[in-house]
């Protein structure tokens, strides 16, 4: 069967089981858009290529399947750089297809030409320029294989226009062909048995252990295995920003989020631990604070599918390379072999200490006085109370992100989608759209800041026209809030270039002009009813603007470069 390269490309995506692609056509990728008309593939036309990338990420986050985006060459490819890097940092499986100028024009500074391969080399797990149409099926298969196995990540395929228009004999490589074609790619999935036994021994001896759970647990679909291990051993669990939902917040063993804005008990438990069992976590500086002061007495068991993570920041006592789910399951067996529940030492003193921290240092904020702006924490708490446990929350980056991760209780895996590693402002709206496309049956709320919202809000036009009913909560404090917080705390209240204005733009009018239903909330008593009103609308996107108190800061906080021992907690709550 003879196909054009364009037909082969789209057919390859169908063969890979791709149901949705996010994209925007243009000159060089044009031929690929013609067969889309006959394809089973649903194409979602975005308003900016960055939106396509973040939608693909949101989709991948909640489904576990690779997100796909298709864009043209030059500026479209460069617009994808941010989402690619975001996906690379947060290990999101993603396949990006970019158009390229015809092969004979490559290197001539042709119209809309850029060195896509060179530009994206350091922001992708792998990238490939396809020089003949016959290679397309193989390259697509390899891309999906690489994106979804080992440590997941983004893979980019660059396709010149003449490759899309030339003819090829269709063939679909087998699994064996794919593996044979990648002799340098053999991810390790099974953990070393000896090391797992050694880890079980350390666990069984530890008096003050903490399970330090990172996003890798979610990537490995290991939430159930984690719960089994936690309940078998009775060890407390902290879930990092990337792992919120991997272990239910309501579980008595859950201490919540550690890190720069983690809660006191989570942060301090790690500082005092004698053993950290790091599962799919990478000792990020936002978790460890000053590394020399981090968990000084803890031995480290480090499980990660990426060997480069082991010893990168903190040298582990027991390094285990492997898939988190497989390793945790084997670890459970190894702990059982050492006596299981009965084999665990008495950790009453540890739990007494943890409970004391929990009781004396809860998350807290001063409720709003009449006439003050809304407290962002209260907005998140009410949102949490009024949404089902399986609702998906996405966020941008900044104060609203931290308030959401602190005050929303995550009970299920894959309900929290945010930009952790790269910290990409503007992530939440497109990510929410991608998440809703991937999980249409679930309620999806984007928690956003006013600064973030202005970066990618145009994708609400995409949501309206494609009938993707996401909901957006803008915590509008009229500032780049996190920067404002740092200027207040560390720059002597010298506010430089952080003021945004509460009503320029008019968020309600803007949202309405994009086909959304929009509300503005200024009174605390309207928070709940407005959220309920938004929840009842399911035929179009909804935007709720909450006018929040701009002086509110995120606490606790460990200042950048400081030890986690120097955690700054919120002031005591005063009044009735």
């Amino acid at each position: 069967m003879q196909l054009t390269g364009a037909q082969a490309l789209i057919k390859s995506l169908e063969m890979e089981g791709v149901e949705v692609a996010f994209g925007l056509p243009g000159g060089c990728i044009l031929p690929a858009y013609d067969p889309i008309l006959e394809s089973t593939l649903r194409h979602i036309l975005v308003r900016h290529e960055q939106g396509a990338g973040h939608m693909a990420e949101g989709y991948a986050h909640v489904t576990g399947r690779p997100g796909v985006c298709i864009v043209t060459s030059g500026p479209a490819a460069t617009n994808l750089v941010t989402p690619l890097m975001d996906a690379y940092m947060d290990s999101i499986p993603m396949v990006a297809i970019t158009g390229q100028v015809p092969t004979h024009a490559i290197g001539t500074d042709a119209f809309q030409e850029c060195d896509t391969l060179g530009i994206t080399r350091s922001v992708t797990k792998h990238n490939e320029l396809v020089m003949t149409a016959a290679d397309l099926p193989r390259v697509v298969r390899e891309a999906f294989h690489i994106a979804t196995t080992g440590r997941p990540g983004p893979v980019l395929i660059d396709v010149p226009k003449d490759v899309l228009t030339s003819l090829m004999d269709w063939h679909w490589p087998s699994d064996d062909d794919v593996v044979a074609g990648l002799p340098g790619y053999r991810p390790t999935t099974r953990g070393n048995g000896k090391m797992i036994k050694e880890a079980a021994r350390l666990i069984t001896e530890a008096r003050k252990p903490v399970l330090y759970v990172g996003g890798g647990v979610l990537k490995a679909r290991a939430a159930e295995a984690l719960r089994a291990l936690a309940e078998l051993t009775g060890i407390p669990v902290v879930t990092t920003l990337m792992a919120r939902g991997a272990f239910p917040d309501s579980h008595p063993q859950c201490l919540g989020m550690p890190g720069m804005h983690g809660n006191y008990t989570a942060v301090t438990s790690m500082q005092h631990a004698d053993l950290l069992i790091a599962l799919g976590a990478r000792f990020d500086d936002r978790v460890t604070g000053k590394i020399s002061g981090f968990a000084p007495e803890a031995k480290i068991i480090h499980v990660d599918v990426d060997p480069a993570e082991l010893g990168k920041v903190r040298r582990p006592d027991v390094p285990i390379v492997g898939d988190c789910r497989l390793v945790i399951e084997e670890l459970v067996q190894a702990v059982v072999a050492l006596g299981g529940v009965e084999g665990q030492p008495d950790r009453t003193a540890w739990w007494t200490q943890l409970e004391e921290w929990r009781a004396t240092q809860p998350l807290r904020y001063q409720p709003a006085e009449p006439g003050e702006g809304l407290k962002p924490q209260q907005v998140i708490q009410e949102l949490c109370d009024l949404t089902p446990d399986d609702a998906i929350i996405t966020s941008g980056v900044g104060q609203h992100q931290m308030f959401a991760s602190q005050y929303y209780r995550f009970e299920q895996p894959y309900t929290w989608v945010n930009s952790g590693g790269l910290g990409t402002m503007g992530f939440s709206v497109p990510a929410a759209i991608g998440a809703k496309v991937g999980r249409p049956e679930k309620m999806v709320w984007a928690v956003d800041g006013d600064g973030c919202f202005q970066m990618t809000a145009q994708e609400l036009v995409t949501a309206s026209s494609e009938r993707i009913p996401v909901k957006v909560a803008i915590l509008n404090n009229a500032y780049l809030g996190m920067v404002r917080q740092w200027q207040e705390m560390f720059y002597g209240e010298r506010y430089s270039e952080v003021y945004l204005s509460p009503d320029l733009p008019d968020y309600v009018k803007w949202a309405e002009s994009m086909g959304c239903v929009a509300f503005r909330v200024e009174d605390p008593s309207d928070i709940g009813p407005t959220i309920e009103k938004a929840n009842s609308i399911d035929d179009r996107p909804v935007v709720v603007e909450f006018r929040t108190d701009s002086s509110e800061k995120v606490f606790p906080m460990v200042a950048a470069g400081q030890s986690n021992d120097d955690i700054i907690v919120a002031p005591e709550v005063t009044g009735s």
């Binding site: 080399r121 440590r151 340098g184 053999r186 060997p307 480069a308 010893g311």
Partner: protein, 174 residues
Amino acid sequence: MAEPKLHILSVLVQNRAGVLARVSGLFARRAYNIESLAVAPTDDPALSRITIVVQVESTPLEQITKQLFKLIDVLRITELDPAEAVERELLLVSVRATPETRGHVTEVVSIFEGTIVDVGHDSITASLAGRPAKLDDFAALLAPFGILELQRSGRVALPKRVRTARTIPMRKVS
């Protein structure tokens, strides 16, 4: 922390466009200068061997090596201990050689068992292959005559056959 020292990495890669950029990019983004680099196909034309000499402490080197392993096109990495490897490098040098000094220059070349590959009116070009240290000595002894141009190939290296080289984690990774 150990003092930065020279490390030789022998990297077996697929012989494809862009592989060298991927490999060298990992050093560049960490601001490590590559001291020398030699790339050529192996006996299997589908594979190339990249020999990289880099001055870096052991801890960052371990991280770079692990990151190199993650490149899809990298098949194997061996760190060669200079004490347990054979190294060779090629040097071409054009030296001023007037009628008065030509005899001295050719004498130096023959002592080192080099070869004169080109002769001009008042200069000659010699080649020498050997251990990098020998090339250093050769260049130093020719310097007083006036070196016009000098080009070194970058070293290539293989483990000594009797003892085996230290190979850092052979297992391929994601």
